[in-house]
């Protein structure tokens, strides 16, 4: 039954004639040509570009990392000087955090949340498009700066006063601060799209208790972004103002304070870790269910754990500041909080293990990545518990131990699930399967290379090697482990090359993917691979948590949505009862144009504060044109209009 279920909802439609289906498809498709390409508001196209762009930044960040490992491979190496090395590790951190980890998770959400909730498109599709273009602009901006020797060189958390007006001459620090602005705008807008989609565009019958765990994770993450990112935006704005117009936020001599920066930054920076980590958890749940041939054990516990993690994530920022002289009592509180947050994650891990234990396992590449996650993330989580202790932290803080820890949690907790999810969803996105053989090579090389590269760093840190040093003296005996680590890094590079090879080859010659190659139970597998422009020819009606696995009772699909207009079905927040036929806007170039205008304003403001003023004029014009309704569209809308 579970295998026959998907075919029920495939095109050809169950109620539309073939010409109507063609019209529906035409209605939702992009206009042809380069302009049509720039004007798309199809969440699948936006997300695909998003993912590819983020992956390119991942590769660039990886190259920077390789450069660092080369420099550190032996003591007193003179491959890179301190000036270039400082730029490189700052670029690496900033790229991976702001241009890869956060946006790629949102990108996957932009692609799959609408599909998993059975919507024909994401909410506010033009905003989603703008969010992509502005992130692209920010990334290009950062790397152009790097090429022009304006690469930031103050570390990815840019502590003042080093990043302040006196100790960072030139524009490098401003460049970093403005890159933050770009990426934050992108992340915040994408979050709004995701929240609205989850709350209002779910297929009828998908009550809150039937939302797939990945969608829950994306929703929780989106809310975390809403509350976390403003902190760093405020901080980086203060930094720019200190540097450009002489404010004194971080100037102790004039009433400012250097620690204000650290408080604001880490109030964002720690939730950031979970903003990256929680979507990974959602991906794991999506993968484990089909590969264990059963629903995830303990759905309510999983959801509550996600939410608990999100709340606790805002209560631990000070554990990044244990070496400063903040009050000791406060420190103990943050120790407790930092240890408590391990519990929700533990709950989820145990639930997954229970799921595997009681399931029928299908050992394919996605599941391998899940198992890799278990090994790496648990290890990283445990070192995290160590770092939560004030006194132990004073020894390992700011050493290579921390470098090891953060890579264990971020690569283990985000990148491994992401790769697994990529192998899992690639057939849906492209209509072709990835090669299983290359996939296994890719996984094992990555897994082994990763541990060889990063495990020794724990020991290096305990042996006194601080992070962010461009070289180290031979007599301290750090050479061997650093060399080992560099070899591991090379292995990772090989593995990533295999991955690229796998994608390129499979795109051309990969086996054609059926609609539901893994026999999964969630809605994205109910439509064709790749999905049609309208996602679902017949908007499905949901009767359970794993719709494709469970029998349907009562109505199975929605009729009455226009085929000549982009109508989506809006449902109620809790019970997902049909509520509205909302006509979505047509494809438009204005989000792209607006992103250009906004970028011009941001870049200009680095060189002259007044650029904010005169730069705002084109922005206002572009946004007005964006909002202004077209006559043809309005006529369509009027024809379909029904007052509430």
């Amino acid at each position: 039954m579970s295998t026959t279920a998907p075919e029920l909802r495939l095109p050809p439609s169950r109620h539309l004639t073939p010409p109507e289906v063609r019209e529906l498809e035409r209605t939702w498709s992009d206009r042809p040509g380069i302009l049509g390409w720039l004007a798309t508001v199809d969440h699948k196209h936006i997300a695909r570009r998003f993912i590819v762009t983020c992956f390119v930044f991942f590769l660039l960040g990886g190259l920077l990392a390789a450069a660092m490992r080369m420099q550190l491979a032996r003591p007193e190496n003179d491959l890179l000087g301190p000036d270039l090395y400082n730029q490189i590790f700052t670029m690496h951190g900033s790229t991976m955090m702001f241009l890869f980890a956060v946006p790629v998770m949102q990108a996957v959400a932009i692609y799959f949340v609408p599909l998993m909730v059975g919507a024909r498109n994401i909410a506010f599709p033009r905003t989603a498009a703008f969010s992509y273009w502005i992130l692209l602009a920010g990334g290009v901006f950062l790397f152009v700066g790097f090429v022009l020797n304006i690469g930031p060189d103050v570390g990815w958390f840019a502590y003042v006063p080093l990043s302040g007006p006196q100790y960072s001459p030139g524009k490098r620090a401003d460049w970093w601060a403005q890159m933050i602005t770009f990426t934050e705008v992108s992340a915040l807008l994408a979050s709004i799209c995701i929240i609205a989609t989850v709350f209002k565009l779910r297929a009828p019958g998908m009550t809150l208790t039937r939302i797939p765990l990945f969608v829950w994770a994306s929703l929780v993450t989106a809310f975390m972004i809403l509350f976390a990112m403003p902190a760093v935006m405020l901080a980086s704005t203060m930094l720019i103002m200190d540097r450009l117009i002489g404010t004194h936020f971080f100037n102790p001599a004039d009433g400012g304070d250097a620690l204000l920066w650290q408080h604001l930054f880490w109030f964002f920076g720690h939730p950031e870790v979970y903003i990256i980590f929680i979507p990974g958890l959602g991906m794991l749940s999506s993968i484990i269910a089909p590969f264990a041939r059963r629903p995830i054990y303990g759905y309510p516990a999983m959801v509550l754990s996600l939410i608990a993690t999100a709340f606790l994530g805002f209560a631990l920022w000070v554990h990044h500041m244990f070496a400063t002289n903040v009050a000791e009592l406060g420190k103990s509180f943050f120790t407790a909080a930092s240890m408590v947050i391990a519990i929700p994650t533990a709950i989820q891990i145990f639930c997954w293990i229970a799921t595997l234990w009681t399931g029928k396992l299908n050992f394919r590449t996605p599941l391998l990545y899940v198992l890799g996650f278990f090994f790496i993330l648990i290890l990283g989580g445990l070192t995290g518990v160590m770092l939560a202790s004030v006194s132990l932290d004073t020894q390992i803080h700011d050493t290579f131990f921390v470098v090891a820890h953060l890579h264990y949690v971020l690569i283990g907790g985000a990148v491994f699930p992401l790769f697994g999810a990529f192998y899992y969803w690639f057939p849906k996105m492209t209509g072709r399967m990835l090669s299983e053989r290359l996939g296994r090579w890719n996984f094992w090389l990555f897994f082994i290379g990763f541990n060889v590269a990063f495990f020794p760093m724990h020991i290096l840190g305990l042996e006194g090697m601080p992070r962010r040093v461009y070289t180290y003296p031979a007599e301290l005996g750090w050479g061997t482990l650093n060399l080992v680590s560099t070899l591991g890094a090379v292995t990772i590079a090989v593995s990533v090359l295999l991955f690229i090879l796998n994608v390129v080859v499979s795109l051309r010659r990969g086996a054609l993917a059926p609609d539901n190659p893994w026999g999964a139970g969630t809605l994205e597998w109910a439509t064709s691979s790749p999905p049609p422009a309208c996602n679902f020819v017949d908007v499905p009606i949901v009767h359970g948590r794993e719709p494709l696995w469970q029998p349907t009772r009562g109505p199975e699909y929605v009729t009455g949505l226009a085929t000549h207009a982009r109508e989506v079905l809006v449902t109620s927040v809790v019970d997902a009862l049909p509520d509205q036929r909302l006509m979505q806007p047509d494809s438009t170039i204005w989000p792209f144009v607006s992103s250009l205008a906004v970028s011009a304003m941001f870049v200009g403001s680095i060189f002259n504060p007044w650029a904010i003023v005169w730069g705002a004029i084109p922005v206002a014009i572009a946004l007005t044109a964006w909002f202004w309704p077209g006559r043809e569209e309005t006529r369509k809308a009027l024809a379909l209009e029904k007052a509430p």
Binding site: A196, L226, T247, G255, P555
Partner: protein, 218 residues
């Protein structure tokens, strides 16, 4: 309106009624827009409000954090002159009334009233902006004289940005209501614009307190 509908009528008739076997759920009679939490844009607006509310809250926290770093506050400058700020407080609070009327008119889909109140609101917004520039003059401190000046200017600046954006927003809406093209959805746009203005009003009260009262009492 009717001729417009007539133009599309044939296409809609092409859609056969839902099959009677109970496998289909027909939604063609559902409304095509709504107000409050029925409207998608209402959720979008709330998203923006949450983000900007967080920024305000953090800026206020920064204000009090910086206050703890120095002995006397405001450091070596006069208190901000309360006159214009208070006037602005009054204007902004009063503006809540026409704002409510605009929202009601929108929900009643009463186009003439919606037009009227939108223009009134625009006028009020412009007035507050004008007063706001006098406020900057009466702060008695420059943004670059010390950290106190920096944070006060930032708070006031942040709120001013909201006045400007909402004024522009209202202006565009007001013009659109006159020129068209119009559809029912525009009424919910007006309602959401009113919601956003309520946020700008609500935000000004604590910020006013921090800028003008806090230095005198802490």
């Amino acid at each position: 309106m009717n001729d417009a509908r007539a133009a599309v009528e044939p296409r809609r008739r092409r859609q056969r009624p839902a099959p009677a076997d109970g496998t289909a759920l027909d939604v063609r009679e559902l409304p095509s827009y709504g107000f409050g939490d029925h409207s998608l844009m209402w959720w979008g607006t709330w998203g923006i409000i949450l983000i900007e509310g967080t920024v305000f809250a953090l800026a206020v926290m920064a204000y009090f954090y910086l206050r703890t770093r120095v002995a006397n506050w405001p450091a070596s400058v006069d208190y901000p002159g309360p006159l214009w700020g208070t006037i602005n407080l009054v204007i902004v609070l009063l503006s809540a009334i026409p704002n409510v009327w605009a929202k009601r008119a929108a929900e009643a889909r009463d186009l003439p009233d919606v037009r009227k109140w939108t223009w009134v609101l625009l006028a009020i917004a412009l007035a507050t902006i004008a007063v706001r520039f006098l406020e900057f003059k009466s702060l008695n401190v420059r943004w670059d004289s010390n950290a106190y000046g920096s944070i006060v200017w930032t708070l006031l600046g942040l709120h001013t940005v909201h006045l400007l954006t909402d004024a522009y927003d209202t202006a565009v809406l007001a013009v659109l209501l006159v020129t068209g093209p119009l559809e029912g959805k525009r009424f919910s746009d007006v309602a959401e614009n009113a919601l956003y203005w309520n946020f700008v009003v609500a935000a000004w009260v604590p910020i006013y307190a921090v800028i003008y009262i806090a230095p005198r009492v802490i």
